[in-house]
Symmetry: C2
Amino acid sequence: MSDRDTPRRGAWAALLGVAALCAGGALGCPGGNGGAPAGSTVAQLMQERGLSEADVEAALKTYTPTGKHDEYLLFASGGHAGNLIVIGLPSMRILKYVAVFTPEPWQGFAYGDQTNELLVQGARDGRPITWGDMHHPALSETNGEYDGQFCFVNDKANARIAVVNLKDFVTTQIVTSELIESDHGATFVTPNTEYVIEAAQYPAPLGGRYAPIEKYDEEYRGAVIFWKFDRTRGRIVPEASWAIELPPYMQDLSDAGKLASDGWVFINSFDTERSWGGNMEGRPPLESGASQNDMDYLHIIDWRKAEKVVQQGLTETIAGMRVIRLQTAIEKGLLHFVGEPKSPHGVDVTPDGKEIVVGGKLDTHCTVYSFEKIRQLIEQKRYEGKDPYGVPILPFREAIRGQVEIGLGPLHTTFDDKGFAYTSVFIESTVAKWSLKDLKVVHKQPVHYNIGHLVAAEGDTVSPDGRYLVAMNKWSIDRFADVGPLLPQNFQLIDITGEEMRLLYDLPIPLGEPHYAQIVKADKIKALEIYPLGTNALEHRPDPHAVKAGQQRIERGPDGVHVYMTAVRSHFKPDVIRVKQGERVHLHITNVEQARDATHGFTINSYNVQLSLEPGKHCNVSFVADRAGVFPFYCTEFCSALHLEMAGYLLVEPIE
Amino acid sequence: MSDRDTPRRGAWAALLGVAALCAGGALGCPGGNGGAPAGSTVAQLMQERGLSEADVEAALKTYTPTGKHDEYLLFASGGHAGNLIVIGLPSMRILKYVAVFTPEPWQGFAYGDQTNELLVQGARDGRPITWGDMHHPALSETNGEYDGQFCFVNDKANARIAVVNLKDFVTTQIVTSELIESDHGATFVTPNTEYVIEAAQYPAPLGGRYAPIEKYDEEYRGAVIFWKFDRTRGRIVPEASWAIELPPYMQDLSDAGKLASDGWVFINSFDTERSWGGNMEGRPPLESGASQNDMDYLHIIDWRKAEKVVQQGLTETIAGMRVIRLQTAIEKGLLHFVGEPKSPHGVDVTPDGKEIVVGGKLDTHCTVYSFEKIRQLIEQKRYEGKDPYGVPILPFREAIRGQVEIGLGPLHTTFDDKGFAYTSVFIESTVAKWSLKDLKVVHKQPVHYNIGHLVAAEGDTVSPDGRYLVAMNKWSIDRFADVGPLLPQNFQLIDITGEEMRLLYDLPIPLGEPHYAQIVKADKIKALEIYPLGTNALEHRPDPHAVKAGQQRIERGPDGVHVYMTAVRSHFKPDVIRVKQGERVHLHITNVEQARDATHGFTINSYNVQLSLEPGKHCNVSFVADRAGVFPFYCTEFCSALHLEMAGYLLVEPIE
C-alpha cells in the first residue's frame, strides 16, 4: 500500500482553508470565478472527499478540462482482447479501442466484405481466426524517432502481425507465416522501419510439420522473421520478407539496435534447458524445467549482414518464407550468443544505442551490456564456448559494463531524457529508477500491484521525453469498485520530472490485458478528420463501387443483385430492396457526407451485417438472401434528430 | 462552447498563489505533505496547465485517489459494439466492458463451449448472430428500487434480450422471439422485475412471414413482449412470457408505471403515418413521411389485466410466443392511446409514479401526463376517437397536467431528489433543468455536443439520489486528441447538487456508441471475489466436468479424447496432449486457485480457442483436431513471474 492512501491535511490545507475564508468563506470571489457554489472551498473538498495534499496536486496535474487535448498518446496492446488501446496522457482517458484481430461491430470490423478480407488474410492453414493475443505494439520510426504514421502489433497465440494506419486508426493488414506457431518478441521495428521483427516463442517443427515431442532437440526450432515494410504503400511485403532459424530455445522479447548499434537486433531467451513439460508423464513441468540454468542466451543478430545473405540466395523456402538456416547463420557470422542471468524478460537498448539492458526475472539484477564490447568480441571471435547447435557464445564478463542490483523480479526497462533508466520490479511491485551512469538505484516507487511492463514518454526512441511513466500493473484487486472476479488491470501514471517519482493516477483497464505500450507526442499524429468521398478505408483510395449522389441504383447481374446506395442524414437511398429468396445481394454504400459529425452505421436484421460509415467512407457487403421474410435495415449510429427514421426494408420474397 | 473553455485566474487564484508563497513559495510545508516538489503550487499548476477556478473545483470533485472506490456505478449500453459498459462515478473511469452479444476473447466469451451455447440460444432462424445493437440497459428492481442483482439489455437489430448477472458481471442468457424483427423500447422492467419489457420498433409481418410492403397497413404489425423473469433462477422463462400485438406504428421507448401507476406500461411511438419509405419508387423517405402528423400515440397498457387475459387462454401462438391479438387487446380494454406531440422519443414516469413525461423531438415541449386523469378517462371510456385499428384514443387536453417549454429537440427526461426533472435537448446541445411542480425551466447547461439520453443517479427509481447527472453526447468532434474519423462519444458528468448545474468531467467513450444508462449506488452490488471451486459461471453451480487437484487425467471415449486439466500458477496439468488427426478433443479445465489475483487464460495456437479462467472457474471446450502438427497452448493471462512458462503442447499425429 502506498502512503498515498492516507489523506494528510496538514499546514497547507489549513492555510488554503484560511485563505478561502479570507476571500469570503467560499470560492465565490467577486468578478472572478463564474458561479462557484458557496462553501466549496478546496479545503472543504479535501475534507469531504478525503483528499491529501499530494492528491490535490495529482488531480491538478492530470485533470484535463473539456476541449483541452492530451499531450501524449499511449498505444497499449489489448492482450487477449486482440485490440489496440489508445490512451491520452496526462488525463488517462481511453480515447479508442482499435479493432485488430477480433471482430468489432461498432467499427464494422469483420462485418463487411473489405474487413472480412483481413481475417481471410490472417487465416492459418486456411482457417480464419477471430481473435488474437496482442503483446507488443511498435510505432513506426524515422531515424529512431516515432513518426506517427503506423502502429504494428503481434498476435502471440497465432504468430501474426498487423498494421494499423494512424491516418484513421484502422487496421489495414494482417500477415502470418506458418513457419512458426507462436511469437512473443514482436513487434519491434528497426530505426527506419525497414523491418518489423517477429521472434517465435514456443519451439515447434518449422513450417507446421508434425514431429514427436521426443524429437524436440532435433526437430523443433525457433525463428525470427524480418517482415519487410513498404512505407509508401503502408504495407508489409511478405515476398520481400525473410527469417533466420534459431535453436529450440524460447525466444522472448527483442529490441532493435539504433545509432551506435543500428543494424543489429537483440533477442533474449529462456528455456535454453530445452525442457518441454510432460508433467503427467514423469517429467518436470516447464516452469521448473526451464529454470535450471544460471544463464540463458541473449541472441545478437547482424541483420544488415543477414540481408546480404538473403540477397545472395543462401536461403531455403519453408512455408513460403525464405529462411536462413541455422548453420548458414552460424557460418556467415550472423548470430552470436552471450549469457544473460536466468530467465530474462526485457531487453532494452539505451537511447544512444550504446548499451543493452536485460532484466532477469529470476535474478535481482539488470545487466548492462556494452555494444562496443560485443562488437569487438565478435570481430575478435573471442568465444567462451558454443551452444549444442554450434552458435558461438561471447564471454559474459567481457561483454557487460556492469550489473545493477534492482530487487526481486526485474522485468523491463524504459528511459528518460536525463540519463535514468526505470525498471519494473514484478515481485516487489515497484518501479526502480536508476542511473545509467553509475548503475545505482536512486528511488523506488510502490505500485498496485504486480507490474509487468512499464513505459516512459517516447522512452523507446533515440530521444526520450521524460515527463511521464506508466506502470502497467496486472491485477488491481482492491483498487476499484467491484465488478466481479475478472479484475481490471491498473495503469498507474507516474510523474518522473522530479528526483523522486510521484504517483498521479490509477486507470482501470476495462477490456483486455495489455502487456506493452509506447507513448508518443500527440501532435505527431496527423489523423484524417473525414475521408475523401467514396474511400475504401483499408486501401486509402477510391473504391471502384463508390456511389455518388444521383447515381443510386439497383442492378441485376449474373452474380446477383447490386445495390448502389448512399447514406445521408437521415435516409438511405434506396430504402426498399426487393429480392428473391436465394439471390446474392451486393450492397455498395457510400456515406456522401463531409461533415465531421456525420457518421452512419448500417445493419440488416438477422443477417449479421454491421458497417461503420464515417463521412466519405464506402463499404461493400454481400450475402445470400437465403431466408424469406421482411428484414428492416437501419442506421446504427445516432446521426440526427431523425436517426430512428433512417431505416428501410429488405424484402425477400419466398421461392414458390 | 461552454464558458469553461476559457481559463480564468482571478482573485481567488492570486490569493492561493500568495497563500502558498506565504508558506515558503512551494507546497513543501514542514511536516505535512510528504515530499511535494518545490514550485508546484496550485496557482502554478493552474498557470502551467491553463486551469480555471471552476476546473480546480471540478478536478477535486472527481479525482479519486488510488484505492478509493467510486460511489456510483453507471451501466451504459455499448450500442452496436454489443456490450455493456460499467463506469465509476465521480471518477468517470470505465471499470469493465461486459461481453453480451459480441464475442469477447479476454472474457473467453463465445470462445468455449458454455459461452458458445449463448450465441446458439440467441440465434435467429437457426443462424447464430455475432453482434448486437444494445440500446437500453435496465437494472433489476425490488419495490421500484435498484436491487443490484441483474442487468437486462436489448439488441435492437435482432430483437433480442440478454441477462447479465451482477454476481460476476457475466452474461448468462440471451433470448429472442421471431415474433418481431427489431426492438427499441427495451429493456424496461416492472417495479419488482416481474417482467422485462421489449417493444418492437420497425413493423413487419408477425412471426417472420413475408408479405409485400404494399400490404403494410394490413399485414405489418408492432408488438410488445412481456418476458417473464424468474429471479431465483436468474433466468427469463420464455414459456411463461407473452406479447400483445400492436398496430404498425414504430413503437419507441417505454417505461413501466410504479407506485401510483404500478401495473401499467407506457410506450410511445412515431410514424403513426405508416410511411415505409420507397424513395427510389416515388414515395417519400421515412424521415419526412413519418413526420407529417401533429400527434403520434402514447400507448397505455394495463399489464396486470393483460396477464389475466393470458391466463384465460385468450391468446394465439405465433413463432412460439403467446400473443394477445390486437382486437382482443382492444375488446378487453388492455390498450389505450393518447396523443403525444410529434415524433416523441423519451417516455419517463416520475418517481412517485403519478405522471408521465414525454419529449417530442420535433416539438419544443415536454408534455406531462397525469396518470390519475388517464385512469379516470379510461374508466369513463371518454375517447376522442379511435385509430384505424379501433384502439380508443383518450382526449389529449384532458389527460395532461401541462407542457413545459424546453427548447429545440427535447428527447429524454430523468429526475432528482428535489422535485426537478432534467431533459436532454438534442438540437440545442443542452440539459434543461425544470421544476415538476410549476413546469418551468430553471437552468440550462450547455454540453458538447449533441446529447442523446441523459441519466441521473438512481433517476429511474422511486427515490432518485440527485448528486450526479451524465449527459450522453453523441459526437465529441474537437473535445479530445484526434484518433481518426470515427469519433468517441463524450459522456459529461454534471454536478446537480446546486441550483445551477456544473460541468465536472468529459469522458471519451473509446468503444461503442452508448444510448442509455442507469446509475446505481455502488454498494448495492455484491459481486463475487472468486468462484467456488469448479463453478460453471453461466449457471453458478458446480460443473459436472470440474477437475480437482490429483484427479487430472486423459480418457478416451466413443466421443473422443477427454482431457481433465487443472490450471494453477504456473502450469497446466497435463501439459502434453497427444491425439490423432481427426479426433474430437474435449478439454475440461478447472482453475483450482482461490486467490483473488489468480486468473488464468487458456489458448491453443491456430484452433481459435480462448478461455478466461478466474479463480475457481471451470470451462469446457471441444473441437476436432483436424489439422496435424504441433500446437503450443499457454496461459494468456500474465499470472506470475513464470507466466511465459505456463505452457504445453497439443500434438496432433497425422493419419498414415
